[in-house]
């Protein structure tokens, strides 16, 4: 069954093709894109629409590839050894499963999310080449091999903090989520806030895209910020007219804190608003 997006997630055509190609050809799919364009949520939604379990592996700067496979809990074994526990004879008692093992062991085909792979050490992707290719790995301590029962659907997200090695890239399919255009954005907002007043939405989107066009913003507001902001606007019952207002005294959008995340950006906006006001005063 191909992936078509869900009732809470609007997938563009190119994204659908990428996801379905990755599922059909059983390749990991590498997702990049501006922060806040729904890279991580995508895995959630694929799992939901396919009815598959989702196994999330969030990567940190200290994560090693080995952690995804298994851990050998030597400290527990040492303690048991000193206490004279019989379990200590069997080393497999101290092998702790990692996320990938969990996925390989799943009885139905799972969706695996390797989130923010670029956070890890530069060698991390290289250490996973064979595992992702063959979907199997070897446990040296017990001399057994774990083979996946069902090849999982693997999604990998990256924020471009590090370049990924070529050998790794060659094994993945790639998709770059572009910032949605106004039409797609409208659809996205519609699924999240179905009862939002049409007028309010139109005005809010206008404000939002105007804001994105301001040169020099450190962090442009993205989809997730827009959704947060709309939530606030709805909660505060802000009127559409206030958004549209050309009143020079109120050039900064209400509740702008949800849209702009950096103090410098807020200052920039205030300064622009000030200049604008002064120009009007001179007119």
């Amino acid at each position: 069954m191909p992936f078509e997006g869900t009732d809470t997630y609007i997938a563009t055509d190119d994204l659908k093709v990428s996801v379905n190609a990755a599922i059909t050809l059983q390749r990991p799919l590498l997702i990049k894109g501006e922060p806040g364009t729904g890279k991580t949520v995508l895995a959630n939604e694929i799992a939901r629409s396919l009815g598959a379990p989702l196994i999330e592996w969030h990567i940190k700067s200290t994560t090693k590839a080995q952690h995804g496979l298994y851990d050998y809990d030597a400290v527990a074994r040492l303690r048991d050894g000193q206490l004279g526990d019989v379990r200590v004879q069997d080393i497999s008692n101290y092998i702790v499963r990692g996320k990938l093992w969990e996925a390989f062991d799943s009885d139905v085909r799972p969706v695996v999310l390797i989130d923010e792979i670029d956070k890890a050490d530069i060698e991390f992707p290289n250490d996973l080449l064979l595992e992702l290719d063959r979907m199997e790995f070897h446990i040296y301590e017990t001399k057994t091999t774990v083979i996946s029962k069902n090849r999982p659907i693997v999604l990998i997200t990256s924020n471009n903090e590090k370049e990924l090695p070529d050998a790794f890239l060659r094994r993945c399919f790639f998709h770059y989520i572009t910032f949605p255009n106004e039409e797609t954005m409208q659809q996205i907002v519609d699924v999240h806030f179905p009862d939002i007043k049409k007028k309010l939405l139109r005005e809010a989107l206008q404000v939002f895209y105007d804001l994105r066009d301001i040169p020099g913003l450190k962090k442009k507001p993205s989809t997730s910020e827009l959704l947060d902001w709309l939530k606030l606007l709805l909660a505060e019952e802000i009127d559409a007219d206030i958004l549209r207002t050309n009143d020079p005294a109120k050039l900064i959008p209400p509740l702008y804190g949800a849209l702009l995340k950096s103090e410098q950006d807020v200052h920039l906006l205030e300064r622009l608003a000030f200049l604008n006001r002064r120009e009007r005063a001179n007119d």
Partner: protein
Amino acid sequence: MFFKFFSDLRRLDVPVSLREYLDLLGALDKGLGHYQVEEFYYLARTILIKNESHIDRFDQVFASIFRGLEAVDFEEEIVEIPEEWLRKMGELLLTEEEKENIESLGGWEKLMETLRQRLEEQKERHQGGNKWIGTQGKSPFGAQGYNPEGIRIGQEENRNYSAVKVWDKRIFRDLDSDIELGTRNIKVALRRLRKFAREGSADELDLDDTVSSTARNGGWLDIKMVPERHNAVKVLLLFDVGGSMDSHVRTCEELFSAARTEFKHLEYYYFHNCIYESVWKENRRRQSRRLATWDLLHTYSSDYKLIIVGDAAMSPYEIAHPGGSVEHWNEESGDIWLRRLVKTYPNVSWLNPLPKDRWRYFQSAGMVSELLEGRMFPLTLDGLESAMRSMNN
């Protein structure tokens, strides 16, 4: 199948390998993307391309191949544009009055010739395949108020396509690594410079040392700590301001704001055209608050990486002669100061916002580059990466 497509991609330096090619064929074999050209485009893109900076080049190749334009050659462009196309376009765009005007300008034939030339230039610049006429502010066609958007020459030849295809929109153009230099891209490039070192208070367990000290201790635990790793790179930025640099202010600002968040130790100063005996930090008070370059050399140790940003476009005298500065009388010439900087900071590079092929018009650019032992790089993403690489050695 699609072999020309594949080899054209390689010709434009998109790193596609046999593996991706076979993957694409495999996907088609499984029935993916067969029935719609758009779907095929998405499929090919997701399989062949691994980096957003290559998508724009991919779009161009795709456009050229799948519109049956076999004649695209990236090196030597010989494109025949059928006369009817031009004529049709002219008729479409020009009013009777304008046509008369044209007659007076040298006639229809002449105009057609010009238009043909324009189009060929256009193709060359787009590296083939793109049939759009850009905004040609200076052309007679533009002046006569024709809106270039949405008119494609040879529309009838490609009846099957609607006006704008996804790949023709070229929305990924901004991400091509040769062109744009957004803050985010600069950050990625600057990260090449990162060098982690242990610094600060000891708050991480050093396992190896703990084990060996415990063993030496006869089994009694002896815990050893080490400091956490931090990015320990120090960067000194010198910006050329004013004059010919004014048009590059934006690029420089982006570079600066990216660098600022990327490095913990970042110092910056300004200079004008060439570095002489003093630099300054606040452009507004450049006359009153200056730092002697000697002090700069003594304040920042030689493990700082020095990045100089400037267009190096000045008169050769400003570098080679005492008193050459356009602003004041300098006792010692610019090249002496540059030599001192290079000597103090072995990791130095000069970033030039001018495109590389324009450097040769300025003798001064060559002189500066020579003083820096060739470490002058264009301020593009690729240039920035080469600069970072050269400084990491």
